[in-house]
Amino acid sequence: MIEVSKKCIGCGKCVPVCPFAAINMIDKKAVMNEACTLCGVCVQICPVQAIAITREEASRRDHSGFKGVWVYVELTETGDKTHPKKIKPVTFELLGAGRKLADELKEDLCAVLLTDKDHGYEKELGSYGADKVYMVEHDELFEYNTDIFSTVVVSLVNRHKPSVMLYGATIQGRDLAPRVASALYVGLTADCTALAIKDGLLLQSRPAFGGNIMADILSPNSRPQMATVRPNVMKMNEPVHGRTAMTVRESAKLDKSLRRVKVLERKLSHDGGGVRIENAKIIVSGGRGMKTKDKFKLLDELSKLLGGVVGASRAAVDLGFKEKTHQVGQSGTTVSPKLYLSFGISGAVQHIVGMKSSDVIVAVNKDPNAPIFNVAKYGIVGDAHEIAPKLIEALKKK
């Protein structure tokens, strides 16, 4: 619990820094309200050390029976009849991150694979670092379904008791993981961007408040410690061919009646061709500074020359320069390409949070004080709509 001692001088310094607006000054004393998350920012800022958080001692529950770092394997449809599904890249990223955790804990790295048909996935999982693959093969696992997949994962966890379990922070991972965590009454940290082991616990770092602050989260009293991990953040290891994982086949009792939500139709964007913005390695993005819809079209040409995908700011979408499916930002898509080349985007916070984890950001904007330059590696001060056609010319000349 959090307590304010008599030492409080009523200076009010803690009130504005509280991320959750949880402090009110009542009778010249800080009083916490229900919004308090015990994050400790006020404890750090208090000039007279009047605020203290006391945590109840960790339960004496024995966690020594929980061993193994688990990675949930996500499959994705390819649209190809002979190989209808493949392992998503985020799974390999999780294996890369999980390998380090498992080595530190001196535990096995295990992949958890739910599929209707074994297509030799375990070889690939082994080459990316898995020691063991728990494989459940069942006809009812032909497509992702919340009820069916969570039932299987919960029973596997109960049977084998891992210490850590990681999921991709994808739509599927974010649908499945909270369901599993809720059923098991274990901690789950969303959308982590860094993981480490600290005193034997999984230290989970994640951005909050639209990326304005970072938080480190621990789940000390429950196992497994679960996290979803943002795609495109962790580095995957180079696959080692010939490195194999031990396959452990698991059974599951499943039938149709478990499936409460039925898919009537599925539309994947690769049906219509083109690379999806969330997976693009290069994004050429435009904003209001491109001036007109016609000039914005230059970015289509430019991105084609660079082998990238076009992105847009909310302003550009609102002005009708580009479809909403291309919008980058809080109300659009979060991206983290290798190269983010922006033209005429000033960089409102809601845009920045959606692209700032890109590897290299090159920003073109005529205002030298535009906030986009705060996250860019390279800034070009100039008129975006004039520079874009010159760049196209230069690229064509090569």
Binding site: V15, P16, E34, T146, I171, N212, I213, R266, L395
Partner: protein, 262 residues
Amino acid sequence: MNIVVCVKQVPDTTEVKINPETGTLIRNGVPSIINPYDHFALQTALELKKKHGFRVTVVSMGPPQAKSVVQMGLALGADEGVLLSDMAFAGSDTWATSYALAKAVKKIGKTDMIFCGMQAIDGDTAQTGPAIAQHLGMAQVTFCEHVEVDGRRIIARKQIDGGYETVECRPPALFTMIMHKDYVPKYPSFLAVHASLAKPYHVWSAEDIGAEAQYLGLKGSPTQVSKIYPPPQKEKAEMFAGSGQAAAERILEIMRKEHFTQ
């Protein structure tokens, strides 16, 4: 059918600034708003009410001032409002929050559909909705853009990784909503707000909803915040100013340097 909509009051994170010296948030002047995803969830529920005559209850958990988001729901057309407010909830993570909200739904009574925003813009976890569904043993459909009801059939269009699905389920079920592209948020008029003051509104404590103290607040939360700190600062950008031609040359040079072109 009876619908419950879960809403959260959040600071407008697009307005939040950081004090560069202390690395703490500057909240002064940052407005508290209804979480935008919850706003869309609320509007979706109210459209269903309009079309089918369903009953809509708005629930929030938070400090007393969070009343305003429940009131907004009432002013936009909801029938009843509930605020869960109790110091026992302080420090609740998504597990403990979803436990309390699930308890509240049980107290509200027979519920056919629950609507939540996909995530809140302050926490960005997207976990509370699915966790409520699990606590209540309900089906869930997450990342929905559109939900319609045809008799006992519920049809939802939802985002999946790399595309969309149209799915079908039966009540009871929980839906988490993302915004679709044509969505325009509605705000109540002053008169509507005034009129909504007459609608049933309750403030419930942990005891009122029959929540066990051991599952609430910090004690009931499996996750704990160990530290909050400013995100690492990026190094200052290498700046260049120049006309079209020179700027284009500079971009090419950068791309060569960063190995994007030969």
